[in-house]
Amino acid sequence: MRILNHRLFFQKRIEPITGINAILFRIAFLLFGLVVAGLIFLLNGVNPIITYIDMIRVNLLLIPNTIARFIPLLAIGLGLAIPFKARVDNIGAEGQYIIGMLTATGTAFLFPDLPGIILIPLMFVNAFILGAIWAIPVVLFRAKGGFQGADVVVSFLLVFPALYLMEWLVSDLWRDPETGFTYSSLLPENAQLPKIPGTPIYISIFLILAITLLVYYFLFRNIDGIPKLKLGYEINVMGKNPLAGRIAGMSFFRVILITMIFSGGMAAIAGVGEVAGNALRLGVKSQGYGYTGIAVAYLGGLNPLGIIVSALFFAALKVGGLALTGIPATVLQLFSGIIIFFVLLSEFFFRFTIKMRRES
């Protein structure tokens, strides 16, 4: 782009932004997002500052609810961070998440008589397996096909079969005859996840937090620039230059297979928690956590510790939405859309910088 006799252009950064600067950088972009969203609130005749303060107040009042929202976002965000790091763009976590919900429900309806101590783990295991299977076509097309963008296309397209499968199951096979709405029957009591007493926080939070910390310790924590597991290093290499990795003898297929199995499995586990811990029955609509998870992973800098913070942030946004009374629901969606957009925009500026050069 040309302005007067200066030319503006993007240039790849030589020194990456790291450590505290990376965090500040992301926060700055979030603030930009909040300012832009604030302008939209203004256009709707709402004072954005008061709105933001209200959102914070609601969250402070409903901390347990925020934490309950935080659970699926953390699971999905963490699951996505790993393939993203290997440059496999799994944008279909939504589908894998729905499969998780379906598997949990199906397992519960198939074995309603099993005691909870067996049934609940079985639901998690089944969901992990089926969620992973739902993610495997992405691997096959990406690694074995000739088309680089296959991961994006295939993972996204796989959302829809999952969605329609859910619609069919809920409106037909599992439909609750007692309500007029299209809901499935309630999950049997022994399939419902126990909660921390007095709160909506269900117990899979412990499982997911434990996985998060393990993933951090084994794959992400670098000491002297070296991660603990070989897999962590292979993910780094594959994400930055798969060609060099393959020439060194790494298997691209193996690496992305592992990352996608984990990713699909984690999204499915999030789905188990949502249906068995929160909703207790299936509806025909999904919450869209799978899409928000993409922004969670990126805002967290694709790092488990960061993802904990960013999942909390997005959970707070969701709960804070309760404070936005008097605003059309679409504006609320626009609001989270803008935040996600700025999060993803910051990723671009992590890699590029704008330079200006004088031209004759």
Binding site: Q11, I14, G225, Y233, K240, N241, A244, R246, G249
Partner: protein, 518 residues
Amino acid sequence: MDSVLEMKDICKTFYGDGIVVKANDHVNFSLNKGEIHAILGENGAGKSTLVNGLFFPPDSGHIFINGVEVNLDNPLTAIKEYKLAIARQDLSKSLIERHTVAENILSFSEGFFLSLAEIERAIKKALQKFNLGDINPKAKVWKLSGGEKQRVEILKALITNPSILILDEPTAMLTPPEIERLFSLLKNLKEEGKSIIIITHHLEEAINLSDRITVLRHGEVVGVLDTQKLRKDYANEKEAIMHLASLMVGKEVLYDLHQDKVHTGTIVVELDDAVVNNDMGDAVVHGISLHLKTNQILGLAGISGNGQRELIEGLFRWRNLEKGRIKIRGQDVTNKPIKKVRELGVAYIPEDRRKALIFDLSVRDNLMLNSYQNSKSLIIDRSRIIPETEALIRRYNIKTTSPLSPIRSLSGGNRQKVVVAREFSLKQGKDLILIAENPTFGLDVGTTQFVREELLRKRAEGAAILLVSSDLTEIMSLCDEIAVIFKGKIMGIISRENATREMIGLMMGGAHQTEVLV
């Protein structure tokens, strides 16, 4: 004499990847009517950039054609109005591979209606007129050999009947007889009154062909010489060439490499009757057999594009062998995964750095690319790798602020040192098998010397080395045996003592060993 073309104060700077390169720094250049003017310089001296300034405007400077200042802001005006024509160096960019020869030349035709048949006729006529040999105008470009592509590119320039002809490294892909014919063609054109710029880094070519020589170094003109005078000033051609060479490379002089006498050892790699296809599915390696021995550097000479790349990729298991087999240390590894080949100690220095380096990862990450696998468990052995990588940085004198700086922040020479350090330390002594593909390509003189010395050191330690190079000097000064490849076949394998540059040159042009040995 009146000059048909003058370029004054040409500046062009490239910005990329955090590096600022002054490709042309206040360059002055003039071309007289009816002369052949050679532009001489090393890789990256700014030769191509200078002539490209005639087709895309440079950052600053003035261009005069026949004494009138002109504004050449797009290639079409340059070609059509000012009768300039250029045969570019990078054929993959200047020819459209999927199109036929005629379709590639079509873009220069005049008139509203395009007639392929007419173009084809014109091409046939032009090929005859310019004595450029036989090329089928209907052939797809990707099916042509490197030399044929080069001739198409030259024809593309000639067919517009230019008054100023620019040839950017026209001989890179040509065989000696083809070069001979091209040069006599250029001399004829000169007689007709055309002015010709030829870019080259071959000193002999410059001296034998041109009337004047402009020498560029690091984007600046270091000398404009009259060839006649140059010939007179020096007793023989050799001294004149030495003078040009010192101008071209500056004060840094290549000192002689010290090559120890060692006895060639046992065979470790046996490649038998290999047939390899290129990306288009056509066989480009036709039944090649090569044996690599310990304590030996085997050179693979040849004009690039004769199947070297496919052969290496087949040998390294990047590509499937259609036929034939590979044995490494007696183990059959035909079409086994790369990992297996790597474990048997095969190190690889590719010509393209992007195949070897991960620019966004740290120096340490890049140095441990092979050795991280050396522990049994799933866990990386940090306590071993940290001292190892630090030792490599010291030993190979890699200039970096920290082992954790990204490769992107390193200079070109230091980047290559990272590759060399890693690959050379894959295995020790006789366990190392090294495939090096133009390992000094694009390096400065100091690093080039360093890499060559390291190759010889590894050879003395017992490594089996296959050196693929299009640089004959490199091949002649390093190798024990030289295999010459032409159109996917080995023309012969000669030991260095028996080889002369001329013999290798002839074989690179398709002569068989039996024809050149007397």
